[in-house]
Symmetry: C2
Subunit: 425 residues, 2 copies
């Protein structure tokens, strides 16, 4: 995979990918469920049959990563074990079993003049997905796009280029085996970043860009793109323990929300506690956090209750730690908690633990987040946990899709108006 292609060629290359994707998308939009499912089934079988081929491509990426001295966590994300390959196959089988969103009539009304106005789900068209090191995203994302009738253009991390190519090759073979266009799933075959810049300028050819990765990558894509982008920058999630509340439930939820998997975007980063229950709650939660090796950065009132806590500064309220660190603040009211969440949060997932139904209602209405949780852990903010059956990502945008995105969020609706000769008068 050469980096030496000059810009002129890259621009033509990007346009070529997008045009081929658009042509494939036209076929996918009308090909019906059975062909798409057959292709997904073949892909799953092919991953299992060709697991060694995938593993040996992956070994090349792993060697290069270790030679380049990449951190161990990154090398681990890159690794495709036999179990992970089996998971990719299983993931595609689960997507196969999901209902096809395309063609669903979401509403239909009969107008006074006899015209029927319906909305019908249709694929978006061509989706460009940019992601980082985990090569299993290649299979997951392509499977979701195919099932929802969209052509995709995939741009994985350069560390995973051999793994991604091997997975892509098997998927394309499955597409052509069942008679679907090979260009339904395309992999950007250069690691030159300029290719991304060209692709995100192709308004009218590419319908949606989904960048997944660090905040820097995503901001760069948003700044450059002329195509709509759906994304979340980060997950600075809050759990607010209200007064009154079930203090044991509050303890369990706060601990689960922070500790169950601290490296995920829906883990709680800031715990807000009403002053009336601060002593009781922090007295319970403090030792558990300490035992788990989780540091606390607190406001002065928190530090009075948890002396080992460091002082939190302004940055701590906005930070996404993705680590064993928890910011803690004592607040005097529900509204102070809501204001804090709306000021410092990332509009991802914020929860309240309360027994007062009026407080729950006010929190739900006033907190501006893609998911608002009442008496459950923020860790549940996830497409599978919500029953979507699959997840292409989580959006904190307010346009189109918000929160975990499944198959349906990869479609739009068109109005379908049928009549018997109605004229506008």
């Amino acid at each position: 995979m050469s980096n030496e292609t000059d810009i002129g060629d890259l621009q033509a290359y990007a346009r070529g990918l997008a045009q081929a994707g658009q042509a494939a998308a036209r076929t996918l939009a009308t090909c019906g469920r059975s062909l798409k499912d057959a292709a997904l089934e073949r892909m799953a079988a092919s991953f299992l049959e060709n697991a060694e081929q995938i593993a040996s491509a992956n070994a090349r990426d792993l060697e290069a990563a270790e030679a380049a001295g990449l951190p161990a966590a990154m090398v681990d994300r890159l690794r495709l074990t036999e179990a992970r390959i089996a998971q990719m196959a299983e993931g595609l089988r689960q997507v196969t079993a999901l209902p096809d969103p395309v063609g669903e009539i979401t509403e239909s009304t009969l107008r006074p003049n006899g015209m029927r106005v319906a909305r019908m789900r249709a694929p978006l068209g061509v989706i460009f997905i940019i992601y980082e090191s985990r090569p299993n995203v290649t299979a997951d994302a392509a499977g979701l796009c195919l099932k929802s009738g969209n052509a995709c253009i995939l741009r994985g991390g350069k560390e995973a280029i051999h793994s991604n190519s091997a997975i892509h090759e098997l998927m394309v073979a499955a597409l052509t085996d069942v008679g679907l266009p090979a260009d339904a799933i395309q992999l950007v075959s250069t690691t030159d970043r300029a290719a991304v810049a060209h692709l995100v300028h192709l308004e009218g050819l590419i319908d949606l860009v989904i960048p997944r990765g660090g905040e820097g990558l995503i901001r760069a894509v948003v700044n450059e793109s002329r195509v709509p982008v759906i994304k979340h920058y980060k997950g600075t999630c809050h759990t607010y323990v209200d007064s009154p509340c079930d203090i044991e439930m509050a303890e369990r939820i706060a601990v689960n929300a922070k500790l169950q998997r601290p490296g995920t975007c829906n883990a709680t980063e800031t715990l807000l506690v009403h002053a009336d229950v601060a002593e009781a709650l922090l007295g319970r939660v403090g030792p558990t956090l300490a035992k788990a090796g989780c540091a606390v950065r607190g406001c002065p009132r928190t530090r009075a209750l948890l002396p080992e806590a460091q002082e939190a500064d302004e940055d701590d309220w906005a930070d996404e730690y993705l680590d064993l660190i928890l910011a803690v603040k004592v607040v005097d009211s529900l509204d102070e908690a809501i204001d804090h969440v709306n000021r410092y949060g990332s509009k991802h997932t914020d929860g309240i633990v309360t027994t007062d139904v009026r407080h729950a209602r006010r929190f739900i209405d006033a907190v501006d987040a893609s998911s608002v949780m009442v008496n459950v852990s923020t860790r549940f903010s996830d497409g599978f946990e919500y029953g979507l059956g699959a997840e292409i990502g989580i959006s904190t945008d307010k346009i189109h899709a918000r929160g975990p995105m499944g198959l349906r969020e990869l479609t739009c609706t068109k109005f379908v108006v049928t009549g018997d000769g109605q004229l506008r008068g």
Copy 2:
């Protein structure tokens, strides 16, 4: 209204508008229906009570427009007659009567672990609307944003600045009368275009940009914006007369779609006719068009049937005439018609006239447009005709809203997850 503000000030001015809008949006998100309806009612009453004040502000704009030699059609769009002021009031009253979309639970499921996962409609936040000369848009757009719980920032055409200011002043008075924040409806008070550029860069403060106007204006906004934009560039709408069809119905629909109001975005610009019915259809439609003064630009086969038709060139297939001109092409098959629509259309509204239900299905599935019509005039593509009760614009985008946009399209949903202490395991 000075144009001499320097860029530094304009940037601060834009940020100030957006921040004030965001603060007002927080109030609107939770204020409930009755206050919003009360404000809308007062605005309607105030327009009627202060019709003279509006008319005299409008007279200043009209004088300036005539002095500047603006075309008569533009001066007419600018004019606020007594009837038009009454229409603005009536429009607000209709919006008052519509259901409030905010807080609607659009779906709700109970998960196996007892957690309830619901989606609830919430306002988008701050909407920036850019429009051209018609001052009644000030009232219409602000009314729809308010009812849907959104703060708006309005930037009208500079020709209408006095009219827009008068309307805006009355609306703000109504807001404060009922206790809602004045900043819920803000008017950009400079005509300097740089203010628009600053506003569309305010990702995170402004949630949506809706530009309405000519294609040039909209393209400039899309190129500049870091905030999501919803728009349609133009309406190159098609009517395809299939074989078999009810030829009398086809004639009536084709004539209505072109002639009923040629200057609108949902008027048909290209008529496609299956070869088998071309002679019958064009023999009927040709004289009617000629009588109405409508020119025809045709393919060679069309010109053989309608000798007065000019030859159509490649541009004619893509043009939005908005005038008494119709492009006509004879095609040999349904698929040729679909390919033509998908190649040259603007994804706005395209219709088929047919008696074959399989052809109707294929056209519906394969045509990539925000509205697909079967046996009705393309002129029905409109929020009021579809029963949305109101229309803020028409979107040909595939993200978020597609087709005519009503109140609901000015909201998003948030996930609301409620439980009794569920933990992720």
